[in-house]
Every structure is written in C-alpha cells, then in structure tokens.
Amino acid sequence: MKKSKMYPAYFLIGTLLLFGVLYLLPSILGIGYSFTDWSAYSDEVNFLGFNHMFDNYLKAFSDEKYIRYIGNTLLFTFVTTIVKDVISLALAVLLIRRIKLLNFHRAVLFIPAVLSALIVGMIFRSVLNPEVGLLNSFLRQLGIEGPQWLTNPDIAFWSVMAVDTWKGMGYIMTIFIAGLMSISPTYYEAADIDGAGGWQKFRWITMPMLMPAVTVVTVLNVIYGLRVFDIVYALTNGGPGYATEVLYTGIFKEFGYGKFAMGTTLSTIMFVVMVIVGYFLIRSMSRNEVEE
C-alpha cells in the first residue's frame, strides 16, 4: 500500500492550522511590520520608505534603552547558563553517590521547576523583602545587614538571576543525574583497577560520557535565557529604571505604550537569533540520534 494513502496528509491539518496561523504567520507578518510605522495612535500603517526602511532596526541598536534590553538579555543568558550548568553538574555528581532518600531529594529539588514563575516571583518578593524578608532576617542574625535585593539597581538584576537559578537548578540537575546514571559502572571499576583518582575519573570518564547532556542542557538554558519574561516580570517588572529590563519585558512595555512597530522589530531581531540557535539545537540533537 502506498505510504501517502496509508498515512494521509489530512492528519496534519489541525497542527498546520494551529502552528501555521498562530505561530509561524505572526513571526513572518512581524518581519513586514518591522518596516512600518505601525502604532496604536493611528489607524493607518505606512511603509517607512526605501530610504528609511531600517529605521526601527537602527533605533533598536542605537537607542540606549534598547541596547540595555539586548545587553541585559545577553548577560542574563550568559550568567544563568553557566551558573546553572556548573552548579547542577556539581550537585548531580555529588548527589548520585551514597545518598539515602535520593528520590526524596530529587523530588524536592524538582518542585520549583513545576511551579509557575509568577508564583515563584511572588514568593521571593517576600523572601527578599529588605526589612522583614526571610533572607535579610537570617543575615541580621549573623550580624550582616542585607541589601535592598530587588530595588537597588546594582543588585536587582543579580537577584533576579539568582532566583531564576533557584527555580531552574533542580530541572537541569535531573537531566544530569539521568545522564550520569546511564554511564556504565564498569568504566569506573576499570579505572579503579588502574588506580585512577576521583578527579581523573571525572575528567576522563564522566565528562566525555556526559558531553551530549552538557550540550543539550546548555542549548536549553540559552533558549530559555534569551526568551525570559516570566520571572523578571514577576520579580521587578524591569525596574528599578531599566536595570532589569530584558527583551521580552521590553517588548511587552512597547506593546503597552502602543509602539507596535518597535515591539515587532525587537521581536524580529529575537526571531532571527533564535532560528539560528534552533538550527544548531536540531543539529546537535540529530547528532545524538546518530550516536545512539
């Protein structure tokens, strides 16, 4: 029987409609809108003209505010990716051995990953409250006066990144634990016989065997970081000033101000970057498939 008859194309209709109309189409339309003056203040949408068609993009890369959004997004992505990778890997390596109630700990560490970022944001607005919050009360008992975690412009963004790490760590660690558990113990036994030390075993067995997991975790963190919105919105909503504003919260603000063309320009910049990242993600994943 012919494949096209056995697996008819009309099975795809639902997905193509949903994905095509509500996901793909806006991204493509958005590219077009980024060359216009579309805003909430006028019913007309005009093309900027050939001489000025890139004006929105020029603005995105020259206006201090937008550069800040882009810079913050990159900083957030860079820092949270590295910190989550390193901490989660260290925890996974430590926790996988000789732990009683490992499943209990794993379950607890995973909980923040399933909670809504909005909820986590509200919880930490309590914990990080400078006067009565749990963290500063604890620090006070140690004789340290904690800072204004979320309202000091020099610290706020780091607090946001720390809370995000708190939320995402358990999930990443779980991936690493799954990766570690798939490494056959015979490698370590052989290394023991050869008299290898702990660091040598980590360096020459664990790391190479874990590389696929590290790659994918890194890509996941990068994708997440570039698209972050929830946790920033819930904790600081971009403030104080623009100190914690990232691209997606910035786009939401442009939307609120009715500056639609600018918002869609920022979205399109993101779109181009993410499609490139996505291409590499798929490549790295299909490579894993081959290795299997």
Binding site: S4, T15, L18, V21, F110, I111, M122, G263, G278
Partner: protein, 274 residues
C-alpha cells in the same frame, strides 16, 4: 580509608539535606503564613502560627474571585490538553511514518518552533482579524499552538519505536487510516501521551503571558493572573496573598505528585535521548 568513606558519606548526606532545605524553605514559609493573622504574617517569618486562621482561605476565594478563575484555568488547561494532544499525535504519527521530502521539511519547521519566539504584537493583529482576541476560544487555540512543537517532537520519536509491521497488517485487513490510528496506534502511544498531557496541563496552568496580552477582561482571567492581580491590591496582607498562592499552586503540586514519573521523563527525554 573506611572511616574517611563514612565521613564522606555523612557529609554528602548532610549536604543533600541542606540543599533540599534551601529549596523547600520558601515554600514552607508561604504555607505557614497562609494560616496566620494579618499582623503575624507581616513579619514574614517561619514561626508556627499562634492562632490558625483558616478563614484566610475563604476570604481569598471570595475577594480574589478565585472560583471564576479556577474554572477558567480548568477550561483552558483541559481543552488545550485535549486539542493539542489530538492534533499533535495525528501530525507526529504521519510525519514520522511517511518521511517524504515535504513531510521532513514540515517536521523541521515545526520542531524549529521549540526555539522560535512568538511575535506577540503581530499575533495580536492575527487574533483581531480572526476575531478571537479577548475570548476563551482564542486563548485555548493559542495554548494549543504554542505547545505543538514540543509535543510533536516528543510523540514523533516515540512513534518511530513502534514497528511498522502493525500498520501493514492492519492495512491488509482493510483497516482505514483513521481506524488504524485511533484503535491501534493511539493505545500504543499511551506512555508518551500521558507525558504530553501532564506537561501541557502544567504549562497551561502556570502560563500567564498570553492572558496578559490577550485577555483584557478580568472575568476571563486564569488563576495565575488573578493571584497576581490580588497580590497587587492586597500586598500588605501577606496571609491572604500566601493563601492565594497555596490555592493556585495546589493543582500543580497534586499533578506533580501523581505524575512525577511522566513529568521528569518528558522534561528530560528530549535532552538525554535526543
């Protein structure tokens, strides 16, 4: 040597407990404070409440209009789960079985959607044209759309593990494509479908960006947005805010406890197995 190992083992165990405590303390803080009086909760500490004020929960349900938003969240989650699971599994099945050139390209574009950001502002325009902005149907369709890429990806790799001989045998017996899919393939997909359903439910329940953009009317708000709005109005009364947070998170925690295996496998599947 042996004693060093024992000490090391105790050390690692203590470390695990400290870590678990760091992660669970903020959650306990919320639970404890949800039973306190307003003045006691203002101190935001971990002390066990002197008086357990269970009425906080009733107050919050009334003032925060939680009944309506609970029903909304349920509607959004249940319908998105049903719609997205159905369309994604049908698509993933055909894309995986018939890997002709067109289907390969379609699959690639859909999976690229895992990383593709949504253009919220242009999406507003599309929703206006379709006249589904500010409607429950619109939000359900959106939730189904944004979760399509990951779900297709998960189901696709599962379908490839089911031998094609089954399809052939059914086709020879004169089974129609629809029947083949619904009565033979779908039951075999059960493990991955449970994962997909649990994850779609959780994601829809937790999400709040789409309602923030596209649901102006508060009667359509899901629980997440309602609790955030409540927080804005009653931020001085932490006992109520905490009770609201507990109520909003409760369904998530219940689903997590019941479906932990499926959640962890689904969320790590893409990463470990590729």
């Amino acid at each position: 040597m042996r004693s060093r190992k024992v000490i090391g083992s105790i050390g690692v165990n203590i470390f695990a407990w400290v870590l678990s405590l760091i992660l669970i303390t903020p959650l306990i803080l919320i639970l404890v404070n949800s039973f306190k009086t307003s003045t006691a909760a203002a101190e935001m500490n971990l002390a066990i409440p002197k008086v357990f004020q269970f009425s906080n929960y009733l107050t919050v349900i009334e003032k925060g209009k939680l009944a309506v938003s609970f029903v909304n969240s349920m509607i959004y989650s249940v319908f998105s789960v049903a719609l997205c699971t159905l369309t994604s599994s049908m698509a993933a099945y055909v894309l995986s079985r018939n890997r002709c050139k067109a289907n390969k390209i379609i699959y690639l574009i859909i999976v690229l959607g895992i990383t593709m950001p949504i253009n919220f502002i242009a999406l507003m325009k599309v929703m206006q044209i379709l006249q589904i902005i500010n409607t429950k149907i619109g939000i359900i369709l959106l939730y189904s759309a944004i979760q399509t890429p990951f779900n297709v990806f998960l189901i696709y790799s599962f379908v490839s593990k089911i031998p094609r001989d089954i399809d052939e045998a059914a086709a020879i017996d004169g089974c129609s494509p629809l029947r083949l899919f619904f009565s033979i393939i779908l039951p075999l997909l059960k493990p991955v479908l449970v994962t997909v359903m649990v994850l779609t439910f959780l994601n829809t329940w937790n999400e709040y960006i789409l309602p923030l953009y596209y649901l102006g009317n508060s009667t359509n708000w899901p629980m997440t947005l309602a609790v955030y709005n409540f927080f804005g109005m009653y931020f001085k009364e932490w006992n109520l805010v905490c009770a609201d947070i507990v109520l909003t998170s409760l369904p998530v925690i219940i689903v997590y406890i019941l479906g932990q295996r499926y959640i962890v496998s689904g969320m790590t599947a893409g990463a470990v197995k590729g």
